[in-house]
C-alpha cells in the first residue's frame, strides 16, 4: 500500500517544529505501525536525512513507551491498542495519515514525536505506592481480598502510564492515569493505610505539573490502550471528597513504638 504521512518534525525541545509530508510507497498491511515508520526512516537515512524520532521499547503493548497521535487519535484508530500493536491493515491504500506528538504542557516535545513524560513519574512519586516492611515475602493468602475488588484493582493496574489519556483529553487532563493508580491501590487492603493521603498528594502533584481539569468528556477511556474505565475517575473523586473533607492534621513525630 501507498500512504502519505504528514509528520510533526521538531529538532529539539527548544526549536520550533513544523509538519513535513512524506510519500510512503510499498508498505505491507502486515507491518505494525512502528515497523512502517522503521521502513520510512530507513529510506530517510539512505537519503542522508534525519529519521523521524519516536518512542518505543517493548513493541508488545506492555511498556507504555510508544505513543503517537494518528489522525487525531492517540495510539491510532483501533480501540484498546497501543501504537506498537497497531497494524497497517487498519488503514487503506492511499490514506493520508497525520502524525503528531502528545500535546500537553506537562509533556514537552523533546524531538519530533517524542515527549518527556517525567511528570507522570513525579505524580507516582507523590503517592502511587504503598509502604511495606522489608523482610520475607508475606504469605500470599494471609490477607483476604474479595474477588470483585481484586478484579477491579487488576483492571486499574493494567494502566501502562503511556499518557494517551492526557493527550486525548480536550482539557489536557491526566485524571484517567491518576484515577487508575489511585483505584488500583484503593481497592486493595494493602492500599488502605495511605489511601486518603495518597489521593490528596497525587492530585496536588497532578495540578502542579500543569495538567488540565476533567470535565467528564470521556475521550480518555476511548484512547486508552488498556481501556481504563470512567468508573475509576468516580473512585478518585469519591476518595478525594472523603479525604479532603475528613482529613485530620498530621501528628508530629510519630516514632511508633521506638
Amino acid at each position: 500500500m501507498r500512504l502519505t504521512l504528514t509528520v510533526w518534525r521538531q529538532k529539539d525541545a527548544k526549536s520550533e517544529g513544523k509538519f513535513v509530508t512524506y510519500d510512503a510507497p510499498d508498505i505491507s498491511p502486515d507491518m505494525s505501525f512502528l515497523e512502517m515508520l522503521d521502513v520510512v526512516n530507513q529510506r530517510l537515512i539512505e537519503k542522508a536525512e534525519d529519521p523521524i524520532a519516536f518512542d518505543h521499547d517493548c513493541r508488545e503493548g506492555i511498556c507504555g513507551m510508544c505513543g503517537i497521535v494518528v489522525n487525531g487519535n492517540p495510539h491510532g484508530p483501533r480501540r484498546g491498542t497501543t501504537s506498537c500493536q497497531l497494524h497497517m491493515r487498519s488503514f487503506k491504500d492511499g490514506d493520508a495519515i497525520t502524525l503528531e506528538p502528545w500535546r500537553a504542557t506537562p509533556f514537552p516535545v523533546l524531538k519530533d514525536l517524542i515527549v518527556d513524560r517525567s511528570s507522570f513519574d513525579r505524580i507516582i512519586m507523590a503517592g502511587g505506592f504503598i509502604t511495606v516492611p522489608t523482610g520475607n515475602a508475606p504469605d500470599g493468602n494471609a490477607i483476604l481480598v474479595p474477588k470483585d475488588c481484586a478484579e477491579r484493582s487488576m483492571d486499574a493496574a493494567a494502566c501502562i502510564g503511556c499518557g494517551a489519556c492526557a493527550a486525548a483529553c480536550p482539557n489536557g487532563s491526566a485524571m484517567l492515569f491518576v484515577a487508575a493508580k489511585i483505584s488500583h491501590l484503593a481497592l486493595l487492603p494493602q492500599g488502605q493505610p495511605e489511601r486518603y493521603d495518597r489521593v490528596l498528594s497525587m492530585v496536588a502533584q497532578m495540578d502542579e505539573e500543569g495538567f488540565g481539569t476533567c470535565t467528564n468528556h470521556g475521550e480518555c477511556s476511548r484512547a486508552c490502550p488498556k481501556e481504563i474505565r470512567q468508573e475509576f475517575i468516580a473512585q478518585l473523586n469519591r476518595d478525594f471528597l472523603w479525604g479532603s473533607v475528613f482529613s485530620r492534621p498530621k501528628v508530629a513525630g510519630g516514632s511508633g513504638a521506638g
Partner: protein
C-alpha cells in the same frame, strides 16, 4: 513535591464545588420552572401574582433574601470554579492538534464553557427585566403575570428567552450527567439510569420554561 491538595485549592476540589453549586442551581431552576407553569392555570394571572406575593412575604419578607443570598453564593462559587478550571485547562494545551477526532465528547460537553457564560449574561438580563423591571418598558411592581406577558410580547425578547433555554438545555444535559461522576456517585450498574436521568431532568426543566415564551408568542397567554 506539592503540598497535599485541599477542597478549595485543587482542580478536583474546585470541580466538586462546581458540581455542588450546580446541583443547587439545578434544583432552583426546577422550582422556578414549576412556579412559572402556574401561568397556565385557569386562574393564571391571580395564581402567579399570589405566588409572587407569597415569595416576597415569606418569613416576613426575609425569606426571599435568604434564598437570594444562597443563590448568589452558589452562582459566585460556580463562576469562581469555572474561571480557575477553565484557565488551567487552556494552559494545559497551548498547542492544539492539526487533526481532531472526538468520539466520546458531545456537543453538550464541549459547549459547557460557552453555555455557562451565556447563561450568566441571561441571568443578569433576566433580573433587570423581570425582577427589578429596569429593562422592562411596561413593568408594574407586583403584577407578575402582566409583566410576564408584556415583557415577552416583543418577538426578539421571546426569542432571546428561548435561545437562553436552549443553552440551559445543553448545560443541564451534560451537567446533570457529569455532576454524578464528579461527586463520585456514578456506578457502571446505573449508567443507563444516569443517562436517562440527565435527559428527563433537562427536558422537564427546559421544556417547562420554554412553554411560557412560546405560549406568549402564540397568543395563548395574554
Amino acid at each position: 513535591m506539592a503540598a497535599p491538595a485541599t477542597l478549595l485549592n485543587s482542580s478536583v476540589g474546585k470541580k466538586i464545588v462546581m458540581a455542588v453549586t450546580g446541583v443547587v442551581l439545578s434544583l432552583f431552576v426546577l422550582g422556578h420552572m414549576a412556579g412559572n407553569l402556574q401561568a397556565f392555570l385557569p386562574n393564571g394571572p391571580a395564581a402567579l401574582d399570589h405566588y409572587g406575593a407569597f415569595l416576597r412575604e415569606l418569613l416576613h419578607g426575609t425569606g426571599i433574601w435568604f434564598v437570594r443570598a444562597g443563590l448568589l453564593l452558589a452562582v459566585g462559587l460556580h463562576i469562581w470554579a469555572y474561571l480557575g478550571l477553565t484557565l488551567k485547562s487552556w494552559a494545559a494545551r497551548p498547542t492544539g492538534y492539526r487533526v481532531n477526532d472526538f468520539e466520546e465528547a458531545t456537543f453538550a460537553s464541549r459547549s459547557m464553557r460557552w453555555t455557562g457564560p451565556l447563561l450568566g449574561i441571561f441571568i443578569v438580563y433576566h433580573i433587570f427585566h423581570m425582577t427589578t423591571g429596569t429593562l422592562h418598558p411596561h413593568f408594574v411592581e407586583g403584577r407578575v403575570y402582566q409583566n410576564l406577558v408584556t415583557g415577552l410580547a416583543p418577538v426578539p425578547v421571546a426569542l432571546f428567552y428561548i435561545l437562553a433555554m436552549g443553552c440551559l438545555a445543553f448545560h443541564l444535559w451534560h451537567g446533570a450527567w457529569s455532576m454524578l461522576q464528579t461527586l463520585g456517585l456514578s456506578h457502571p450498574k446505573y449508567l443507563v439510569a444516569r443517562k436517562a436521568f440527565a435527559i428527563v431532568f433537562t427536558v422537564l426543566v427546559t421544556g417547562g420554561f420554554v412553554l411560557v415564551p412560546l405560549a406568549v408568542l402564540a397568543g395563548m397567554l395574554k
